[in-house]
């Protein structure tokens, strides 16, 4: 059951001119959220901006005893709300509704979990990695961005046992080009091993990853991004076209049936 919390900002770390990690005191959400779920946030009062915005839960914050006390959000500044999240100061309060949506379905050993992140699509994978580690499931993080300056939290992931496979468009680190370059190479090499893909990032990346997964006979879960008016199934703004089995398609609300979908079921346009 989602709850709505007026969460206090307990930290705001700028990672780059456009990326920041916002820490919010939200114990109830921290305690119940699962990897891939999201929150709808509204910084600032008043009616401009009016609607909440969806953000993946990035990290779950715990106190010394391991009790969940809050969450963080990895935000990329692209507009009015992300600007407010960028400028948020300790002590400010931000309305935070969640956890919402369907989480990833994580695999158990001996199967491996390959996480594929593009840009801010890294967000759902911090909690995912912790859940995978709890299951002792081996993991790889495929992580692509424009340049090395746009790759964050690399130590965080590697120190927690995720093997890193990086790609940058300018070649400043890892493979040169899209993340699908190392991904396809490793899919080819992984013949016979049980591997499930989990992808989050720009839609073209999700489509490419889903297609690779089909080509190499792997299951692939993708987390899609849609403009969301409510996050609760009320407005029908966030639909994604899914195959209806009979060659046609039907629109499904990504806030309640997703944001995580089987990549093979989505009709990519």
């Amino acid at each position: 059951m989602p709850v709505d919390i007026r969460a206090r900002v307990i930290g705001n770390a700028l990672l780059s001119p456009d990326y920041n990690v916002l820490s919010l005191a939200a114990p109830e959400i921290a305690a119940s959220c699962q990897p891939g779920q999201f929150v709808m946030v509204k910084p600032g009062r008043g009616t401009d901006p009016l609607l909440r915005r969806p953000f993946s839960v990035f990290e779950v914050l715990r106190d010394g005893t391991g009790t969940p006390i809050g969450i963080t959000i990895l935000s990329k500044r692209i507009g009015v709300t992300t600007q407010l999240l960028h400028d948020a100061a300790e002590g400010d309060t931000i309305d935070c509704l969640g956890p919402l949506g369907q989480p990833f379905n994580l695999v158990d050993p001996p199967a491996e979990a390959w996480m594929v992140a593009g840009g801010v699509g890294l967000a759902p994978f911090a909690t995912t990695l912790e859940a995978l580690n709890a299951r002792r499931t081996a993991s790889v993080l495929f992580y692509g961005a424009r340049s090395s300056a746009d790759l964050f939290y690399l130590d965080w992931f590697s120190s927690r046992g995720a093997r890193l496979a990086l790609a940058t468009e300018d070649g400043s680190v890892g493979d040169t080009g899209r993340i699908t370059v190392p991904l396809e190479r490793e899919l080819r090499a992984a013949e016979g091993r049980a591997v499930t893909l989990y992808a989050c990032g720009p839609e073209p990346m999700l489509e490419a990853v889903a297609n690779l997964a089909t080509r190499y006979g792997r299951r692939c879960e993708v987390s899609v991004e849609r403009v969301m008016g409510c996050g609760m199934g009320g407005c029908y703004s966030c639909v994604v076209p899914l195959k209806d089995g009979t060659g046609g398609q039907h629109f499904v609300r990504s806030c309640i049936s997703g944001p995580v979908f089987d990549g093979a079921e989505i009709v990519w346009d």
Binding site: M1, P2, D4, K42, T47, D48, P49, L50, L51, R52, D95, L97, R226, V227, G229, C230, M232, G233, G234, C235, Y236, S237, C238, V239, P241, H250, F251, I256
Partner: protein
């Protein structure tokens, strides 16, 4: 005045525990919210608009935010009246919710057929007749923008059902009150307004409309002052109850509509921003009535004082 004020209101033969109703298209089929809130906190809710058959609706983008509002063109995606009756109504009955069904039609016959199916089902409290959706050519707006069309649709639905019927009026006309009168003459138990304002947002970088349908309906606090004026005009010109809506986001806004002449108030867009708004509205309403020593919420309806100044 120690006793808690009476919040109940009467819409035709239908009694609501309080005047707060979730607006059509802003509350799914109700069940989406049953997990988060107690649906009996609301006086009632209105379903997403239903045709006889299922509809896919418009492709994304379907909404875009505007200053203190939002533009939508969902395109009435829905499961059709028969699947609603078989797949949703049973669970809704169990929640104890007061379910008002918003019906659409591409012809007068379809409106009547949908109404008939609903009156034969169990658990429908009332029917809201959507003759005002601006987002699909065949969404009834051709009826809603003509007095004759409005009269004919409402008359046909009146013949098809004994359930309370509530034509939902468009604000995209010169004189909404005349449409309220036409509805009253055709046998409506109440009218509701406003539906959304036909509007447009462009992406100046692409020079394209921001939503796939090109135009859409504007809702939210931005439109409230216009909606309050229209509700006032309608309440002045008909005897049947007027259900007001348009930008309600707080108890103060609910009170504004009631004082302007609304017997009940619907909340749409604000439910997206705060799905837990309902208890806050009930509390705010109760506090106001207690503070002002008003015994019944109905005692507020239409009490606006125009004595100094006024139109």
């Amino acid at each position: 005045m120690g006793l808690t004020p009476d919040l109940s209101v009467q819409i035709g033969s239908l009694r609501l525990a309080n005047p707060l109703i979730a607006a059509s298209g802003c509350f799914g089929y109700g069940l989406e919210y049953a997990g988060a809130i107690d649906l009996t906190t609301l006086g009632g809710f209105v379903t997403k608009g239903l045709f006889l058959k299922a509809r896919e609706g418009h492709p994304p983008e379907r909404i875009v935010e505007t200053p203190s509002g939002m533009l939508n063109a969902i395109g009435l995606q829905g499961i059709g009246v028969h699947r609603f009756i078989s797949e949703r109504l049973p669970d809704l009955r169990r929640t104890g919710a007061t379910t008002i069904v918003n019906i659409c039609g591409t012809s007068i016959g379809e409106y009547a057929e949908v109404a008939l199916a609903l009156s034969q089902a169990e658990g429908v409290a009332a029917i809201e007749i959507n003759i005002s959706c601006p987002n699909i050519k065949e969404g009834g707006i051709q009826f809603g923008c003509s007095l004759g069309g409005t009269f004919d649709v409402v008359s046909a639905v009146r013949k098809a059902t004994h359930l309370p019927i509530i034509p939902k009026l468009t604000p995209n006309v010169t004189d909404p009150a005349s449409f309220a009168k036409a509805s009253e003459e055709a046998g409506a138990d109440a009218v509701s307004l406003v539906n959304t304002f036909l509007a447009m947002v462009l992406d100046v970088e692409t020079r394209r409309p921001a939503i796939s349908n090109g135009m859409g309906g504007l809702s939210g606090p931005a439109i409230r002052p216009i909606a309050v004026r229209m509700v006032y005009e309608c309440a002045q010109s008909v005897k049947i109850p007027v259900i007001g809506m348009g930008g309600v986001a707080s108890a103060r806004d609910v009170l504004e509509f009631l004082i302007a002449g609304a017997t009940a108030v619907q909340v749409g867009t604000a439910n997206f921003v705060d799905p837990f708004i309902w208890t806050k509205l009930v509390t705010g309403l109760t506090d106001y009535l207690t503070r002002h020593n008003v015994a019944r919420v109905t005692d507020l309806v239409g009490t606006v004082d125009f004595s100094k100044g006024g139109h």
